[in-house]
Amino acid sequence: MQPQPTDLDLLRSARHGDGRAFHALVDRHARMLFGLAYSLLNNAADAEDVVQETFAGAFKNLAKFEERSSVKTWLSRILVNQVAMFKRDHRSAKSESLDQGFGGAGGEASGGGGSTTAGVDARLDLHATLQKLSDEHRKVLVLRELQQLSYEEIAAVLDVPRGTVESRLHRARAELRKSLGADFA
């Protein structure tokens, strides 16, 4: 049985014109990138557009990937940049309602599994509060808490020094804690 090709194997094959290898990368990372995009944009259709642009950008820049970070980090970085461009171009676009975003009737949301009304309320509050944070703070929190990236990976995605990640994360958590009020004071 042949071992599974790594992300880097697939990327190198794609770089040499293997379209199937690039599609395999899409299959591996699309959902993670969609989750990240959705957390930053709070709109499924916009998140889908941004993920498409991310892979288009990745394909066009295959030759420029220097293999200094993981493919996942590289793709996340492209996505974060695409989100910034999208927001710049669509400042007037409206967000989906929280009900839609959190899997109301017919929604796509899953996971989490709240057991109490209080728990669901807390998560709704948290999500709403997250959307109110500055872009800078929301990005670092999403990358750390939702995507579980290390400080080094976050630094690579945001193209900032590791120390900046630490201080930004500290400030972001403080802002979130303050916004949430007494429970986390």
Binding site: G19, F22, H23, V26, D27, A30, R31, F34, G35, Y38, S39, A44, A47, E48, V51, Q52, F55, A56, F59, K60, G101, F102, G103, G107, E108, A109, S110, G111, G112, G113, G114, G119, A122, R123, L126, H127, L130, L141, R144, E145, L146, S150, Y151, E166, L169, H170, R173, L176, R177, L180, D183, F184, A185
Partner: protein, 151 residues
Amino acid sequence: MNCEQFSSQLDAYHDGELDAARVAEMDAHLRECPACALALQSLRSMSHLMQTIPMTEMSADAVSRLHAAVDRTMDRSLLPLARSFVGIAASILVVATAGLFWMQPSHASAPQAWEGAMLVSQQSNDLSQTANSGTMEPDLIVADLSRSNRP
């Protein structure tokens, strides 16, 4: 380690980003300081809550649309290359067509006077040789057939 030092490294401690020596110092401080232990507990609770935010998953249709979009991107990236090949092929075709056109009999130059004399001379030789040997030399048979076919 005092509380201020602990607080400055609390996030990195919580996120597992400290080395073993620092972790030991932080652990030691936690055992002695209930206030810092409470701060850590608060951070853990908030992190845990964030990690339980329901994530919107990408639908199968959206994944299909993504693959189709990737195919379109790949096709577009090949288009300039394909255009180059078509351009080169078209150039070769034009040159070849022009060459064939100029090689047609109607475009061959009229025989010069000396060529006519040579032909007459060759034809008389051919006739005599044919009469003598009963065969013709191949190179003489093909002598300017294009002109001989002209009306």
